[in-house]
Symmetry: C2
Subunit: 366 residues, 2 copies
């Protein structure tokens, strides 16, 4: 059985960093005999330019048929004035929703070799290893009613709706509890239950599920504003954080910035296992399309490469191969190579391609 | 004309730190002949315990009649299982809404003497001085429909609604632009317009207002997730940030934690100037009720004292007196006194009362 992969590089630095993954894929074929059936397509601004839409139905269909999707990033200021329904970001939002990718796993892990890059004091972030599990197909991202209305006097009103149901909360909380059992066994559930009823329900449902099925895991609750603060004050207090779509968006970006190396962090977004045992999954770097540095050949390809490693681990149970890639990346860093975003004194600054080639060279040595 | 002040200490450390403000008020009467007509009342858990509600209508009425409200903090785990409509937090939410306090000014300013307390590297936060202007009577905090419904199958659905209108956005943006003109002349408007229509309207309205009335101020736009990241990566890029209620809640807590001294930061929440030239205003520390240290006599009273200084400046145009208090606080810090939250090696750790007395002693010397 071949492994069907859909590759969607997207906008900005997406295609550049995806090129470097291609080298790693080729290596896997050459050295480990792992064959992938890969198709590639356009999403985001790149799709808008050619097809007039941020993602075509065929791409959604192909994503559903694939065993896994490797995604780059979308978003491009060039399309800032396109209609709301046509913006490049629709591509990733639709993929998450149509594939039912409800659990967005966002690790914030400090790479020892890069500890210097953090703006936080070394003693505050040394060994940092947080996993944020963000609900990703519900909440205010998708709730209706939504839109902009014009009022009788010509002024306007913008509306969005946050909705969470018991089952939506339970399924993502299960993912968090299950992950915690393989890590530090602690989950912190984050909401704003002192202001929002949807947060109150979130807290109730997580509490009940914990009592029912996960009493062995340590569960705490934290308000979202306090969590933002605690991530700065003492980030190492956290193991797994589980939260809704919007809070997860802010808190995971904040948490990953604590590591100082956004260009290093991969993520996975997982759906439910179906009757045939298949689980839809999409892998993408935490970083965005970085239009300011796109096309310059200086972007860091490591988060995209590490996203491919996550894909091998979670979608194909290829733990050995995933670990090889991670080791190769660690070795490249240890050898002193750095892209601009993680550069520090005494290291050797290189571009996207040299970094990608270096990973393959290290793979060869393993 | 006497100045009518309503003092609402609230829960947790609120009453303790408010006691220290009383010393400063007494000093103002004694040494500067400034008389206040002060009344005090219960809010939050303290009001629940006596009156069965988090805030009585009489207190709202008194707040409206007062020239300014000095607020402590509310929130108490003792009342965690009280109904959603009776939770202690209702007190501050109702005050903001009933008094129309739409602009919550939250400075995140590093105190030089306390630079050590930040978890960020000194070179990243030296001289940090951000003003966050948070919309505080709209958005998802107050939008309807809201609530928890039980579905036919017994499961539940929590709903909240984010609504922003042109006029709500304009009035708070004006406050931000006006403030920027007195500071670094830069405003960064923060929303999530790539996902939320309410954010899209926010951006449009701020852009239009800027072109119309504030073209001399530099305006930039940033997505909320990026802002959370940028506050950690390079916080000094910001001058004034203007944002909605929920993003403002998280981002202001995050920003203030960058200074390392939450116990030092005051805030002001302002309404519209009415026909008589009166402007409703409430002053409160950024920190919360800190139930874990309440009653121990170790809380830092400086944020509450500095909130009183802000009150003198914004509500009574007593710039000289406000500056005196701020100077006295700076002198106390320079003398080496520290409460536990800002303690560092070589300094003298003191409790709440000694700190309050020290401020008055420094005032005597000025
Ligand atoms: C591109 C955008 C729609 C997306 C989101 O808000 O979810 C991104 O910020 C992310 O976190 O993956
Ligand atoms: C107490 C709570 C309702 C309040 C809020 O969320 O606005 C607090 O966190 C604040 O920021 O003043």
């Amino acid at each position: 059985v071949t492994k069907k992969l859909l590759v969607l590089p997207g906008d900005g630095i997406g295609p550049e960093v995806m090129n470097e993954v291609a080298r790693v894929v080729a290596w896997m074929g050459r050295k480990r005999g792992v064959a992938f059936d890969i198709s590639e397509d356009l999403v985001g601004g790149a799709s808008l330019a050619v097809h007039g839409v941020p993602i075509r139905d065929e791409v959604i269909t192909a994503a559903k048929a694939a065993d896994a999707v490797l995604f780059g990033s979308v978003g491009d200021p060039k399309w800032a004035s396109v209609g709301f329904d046509l913006r490049p970001e629709v591509a990733i939002l639709k993929l998450r929703q149509e594939l039912g990718l409800f659990a967005n796993l966002r690790p914030a892990k400090l790479f020892d070799a890069l500890a210097e890059a953090s703006t936080l004091k070394p003693e505050v972030v040394a060994g940092l290893d947080i996993m944020i599990v963000r609900e990703s197909v519900g909440g205010i991202y998708f709730g209706t009613p939504r839109g902009i209305e014009t009022l009788p006097d010509g002024s306007k009103r913008g509306i969005n709706t946050e909705i969470y149901t018991t089952s939506e909360i339970e399924r993502v909380a299960r993912v968090a509890f299950d992950l915690a059992r393989q890590r530090g066994n602690r989950v912190c559930s984050v909401e704003k239950c002192n202001v929002m009823e949807s947060g109150l329900l979130w807290k109730e449902v997580v509490t009940a599920l914990h009592a029912r099925d996960y009493a062995d895991v340590e569960l705490t609750h934290m308000l979202a504003d306090n969590c933002a603060m605690q991530l700065v004050r003492n980030p190492r207090q956290f193991d797994v954080i589980v939260t809704g779509n919007l809070f997860g968006d802010l808190l995971s970006d904040l948490a990953s910035m604590l590591t100082g190396s956004l260009g290093m962090l991969p993520s996975a977004t997982l759906g439910a296992v179906d009757e045939d045992g298949r689980r839809p999954a999409l892998y993408e770097p935490i970083h965005g399309s970085a239009p300011d540095i796109a096309g310059k050949g200086i972007a860091n390809p490591l988060a995209q490469i590490l996203s491919f490693a996550m894909l091998l681990r979670y979608s194909f149970a290829m733990e050995a191969e995933a670990a090889l890639i991670e080791q190769a990346v660690a070795n490249v860093l240890a050898s002193g190579l750095r892209t601009a975003d993680i550069m520090s004194p005494g290291m050797a600054q290189v571009g996207t391609t040299v970094m990608g080639e270096a990973v393959v060279r290290e793979l060869d040595k393993l």
